[in-house]
């Protein structure tokens, strides 16, 4: 194998597939990046078995030549060294040549590296996914849906299924739901561009996969193709295939957990409320509890407070746009509230309380695309 490639294109590709490579893998060959060059271009592959990323670099793009292939072929190179080397090479192009025993030479400017490569035939095959039924979604919308839900996945393995985001498609409505059993985040969106009659319910994608995916998907209206199989999901963009394993098991039914009525309803400015909670949590964090208290005062005021015995106290009044229903005092984890408010993406929110010991709901005053649920804390 012998070819020459534009260094910045190679670096971009390598950095994308690196997102799937883990240093902790139990399969030695997966510490490497697979590189294949043929007449149409280059394919880079990285995988940790849970996530696999395949990145294409075309020979030519918009009239510019990216790669000049002298002799096609393939090789696996140590991901760690290869990515560091490509990042630091001096020239604008890199020449790569692989010998019979996988010994690989990288030349750029006046620099030359010799790397010991691995046999590409030993690299596992990526899952074969047939693109029969496809769901299509704009890249920027997909990123937003991930950002608005993925933070609420569980980080403990107590209930492994909760470490993922539940993706549902029913009657043209795509839903992302996640919960760590202390709070819940839900985002819905209408989808027009999908295969007629396509529907699924119990698809659970690991939170980690979605975090990596959102780094690769571009913030643009370009469509991402999603294909779901029994145990895999594929996200396909123009130059990238992103595969993720799905979590086994049944995602709990969360539809009944969302309250449908309110006993106390507040309307607040998202930003003002977020800042007040953030300030109150300055002391709460110190006390390790990170608990703040919300109390209604009158129709236009609520009080946010926090008390850490070893540190001190804080009180702050926040003006509400409206307050309806019963008086209320409720305590909750400030971090959950901050996470939820940051994910609202709207200027005003409505909070529905149904009692101090029950989950409460946060949603935009306009539209119902985002729903956040937080369960309060109790004393001992």
């Amino acid at each position: 194998m012998k070819f020459q490639i534009n260094r910045s294109h190679l670096l971009e590709g390598v950095q994308d597939v690196m997102k799937a490579v883990s240093s902790r893998t139990t399969i030695p060959i997966l510490t490497g990046i697979k590189m294949e060059v043929h007449s149409e271009g280059m394919v880079l592959t990285g995988s940790d078995n849970d996530i696999s990323i395949e990145r294409h670099i075309p020979i030519e793009e918009a009239g510019n030549v990216n790669i000049e292939v002298a002799q096609p072929g393939k090789i696996v190179l140590s991901a760690r060294y290869f990515s560091d080397i490509v990042r630091k090479l001096p020239g604008e192009t890199v020449e790569i040549e692989v010998g019979e025993r996988f010994e690989t030479t990288l030349r750029s400017g006046a620099s030359e590296f010799n790397l010991i490569g691995l046999d590409p035939e030993e690299y596992p095959r990526l899952p074969q996914v047939e693109e029969k039924e496809v769901l299509m979604i704009q890249g920027d919308l997909l990123r937003q849906m991930i950002r608005q839900t993925v933070f609420a996945v569980s980080t403990t393995e107590t209930r492994p299924i909760l470490t993922g985001v539940n993706m549902k498609l029913e009657e043209g409505v795509l839903t992302f739901v996640s919960t760590d059993s202390h709070r819940l985040a839900k985002r819905i969106a209408s989808i027009d561009n999908s295969t007629e009659g396509l529907a699924f319910q119990n698809v659970v994608i690991p939170g980690k996969s979605l975090n990596e995916l959102s780094k690769i998907v571009e913030e643009s209206s370009e469509l991402v193709h999603i294909v779901v199989t029994n145990n895999q999901v594929l996200f396909k963009t123009k130059n990238t295939l992103f595969f993720s394993r799905l979590l086994d098991g049944n995602y709990p039914d969360t539809s009944k957990l969302v309250p449908s009525e309110s006993k106390t309803t507040l309307v607040l400015s998202t930003k003002e409320f977020l800042q007040a909670i953030d300030r109150a949590s300055l002391l709460a964090k110190e006390g390790k509890n990170n608990v703040v208290k919300l109390a209604t005062i009158d129709e236009t005021n609520i009080q946010i407070s926090s008390n850490s015995p070893e540190v001190g106290k804080v009180f702050e009044n926040v003006t509400t746009q409206s307050m309806q229903g019963e008086e209320l005092k409720i305590s909750f984890n400030a971090k959950y509230m901050i996470d939820a408010l940051k994910a609202m993406d709207c200027s005003d929110i409505e909070i529905w309380f149904t009692g101090a010991m029950r989950p409460f709901l946060i949603r935009p005053t306009e539209g119902e695309t985002v729903t956040q649920l937080i369960v309060p804390v109790r004393t001992y």
Partner: protein, 401 residues
């Protein structure tokens, strides 16, 4: 602590209440005064053990952790009371309040002991100690022993020397003739396991330890070895830290196995009884934890500790056991195990702690909270000890035996 005060001569008091629970009982019920009294788990049951006892009972040979039946045999007229932790907490609060009347530099160590830094007070530390001891006895009715020394470690050793109602001064220059002849296990911070380990190096007395080379101790036992060596030489720079909240403290139990084991069922059983005692001690101190830590020591003495921060506070045996066991399975090499331990850390006192409720089970919590609120309201109205929950009135007995 600021830089200036390091190296300067300090006066530290260690105040240790004498048989605290028993003393509190006889304040509340003066007819118990001067009698052999023991606080023990369920007295109706034979297997109850002595939590603490009065000096009168100690004179008859009754000891802490002794089974009740044995104590009764030594001292048939022994009066038994069940522990009443809310009451002890009330007295503990009053005691620390009194300590803080002298200085804000008070660091509570447990429900019944604490350090005070009286360096900057105008009066002489001995007079302070005498006045404090007298007032604790006259105003609250509780006896204590006080150690006076230039640092926390020596103060702690000193308060232990004269009980009850003693005041002991321990100067650094006296360390070699007062502390050095003692067995290392008498040193605060050295348990049976460490004493065993020191024996390997022919270290039996505190003097043996003090005369080791500092570097050698570091090689043998790491930073802990250095700390031990320093203490044996009367050195302890740790400041009295009034902010030292519960979170820095931990409650742990470990046990050296009768024989090295590698079968899961037996190891699980050991974890289960360790979790039971951790739960019990957390209950007694009225705290909840945020981290669970385990210790595994193998046949070759290689020791591994692993911990996990849980995303909710806990105090139940079931959770402690579940998390400890999961940690164990994750880190165990499957080699035979010599010692196992569980520690709950990042503790918070229950009155300041919260429990994050669960989306799937909050309805159950809702009921508990209603009871809590009711109890709290009644307590506010009629006083702390007017009412409490049944589970708090009686200590939990290990339920896996």
């Amino acid at each position: 602590m600021n830089q200036e005060s390091v190296g300067k001569r300090r006066f530290i008091l260690h105040v240790d209440m004498n048989s605290f629970y028993a003393s509190v009982e006889s304040v509340v019920d003066p007819s118990l005064k001067g009698k052999a009294l023991a606080i023990a788990g369920n007295p109706q049951e034979r297997r109850g053990i002595i939590v603490t006892c009065s000096y009168e009972a100690r004179k008859r040979g009754v000891k802490t952790t002794m089974p009740l039946w044995q104590a009764k045999r030594l001292c048939p007229e022994l009066i038994i009371r069940r522990p009443d932790f809310p009451k002890y907490r009330t007295f503990s609060k009053r005691m620390f309040q009194l300590l803080r009347e002298y200085t804000e530099m008070v660091e509570p160590v447990s429900i019944d002991e604490g350090y005070m830094d009286v360096t900057h007070l105008a009066s002489n530390p001995i007079e302070i100690a005498q006045d404090l001891q007298r007032r604790l006895y006259e105003e609250i009715g509780l006896p204590c022993s006080i150690g006076i020394a230039p640092n926390k470690f020596l103060a702690k050793m000193a308060s232990d020397m004269k009980k009850p109602m003693g005041i002991t001064i321990l100067r650094k220059r006296e360390v070699h003739h007062i502390l050095w002849p003692k067995h290392v296990a008498e040193m605060h911070g050295i348990g049976q396991a460490t004493a065993e380990k020191l024996k390997q190096y022919d270290i039996y007395t505190i003097g043996d330890l003090a005369q080791q080379d500092r570097y050698t101790m570091k090689q043998r036992m790491g930073v802990n070895g250095v700390k031990m060596w320093e203490r044996a030489n009367g050195i302890d720079d740790s400041p009295v830290n009034p902010q030292r909240a519960d979170e820095f403290q931990s409650i742990g139990n470990s046990t050296t196995l009768a024989e090295d084991l590698d079968d899961e069922a037996s190891l699980f059983h050991i974890f289960s009884s360790l979790a039971t005692s951790v739960e019990k001690r957390m209950f007694e101190k009225s705290v909840v934890g945020q981290h669970v830590q385990i210790v595994i020591r193998y046949r070759d003495r290689k020791t591994v500790t692993r911990s996990k921060a849980l995303d909710n506070t806990f105090h139940e045996k079931q959770i402690i056991l579940q998390e400890a066991w999961a940690l164990f399975l994750k880190h165990w090499t499957r080699e035979p195990v010599r010692l196992l331990g569980i520690t709950a850390s990042a503790l918070l006192s229950k009155e300041h702690a919260f429990r994050q409720m669960d989306l799937f089970t909050y309805e159950k919590d809702e009921k508990t909270e209603k009871v809590n609120q009711l109890v709290q309201n009644l307590q506010e109205k009629f006083g702390q000890s007017s009412i409490r929950k049944g589970a708090e009135a009686a200590p939990l007995e290990p339920h896996d035996e």
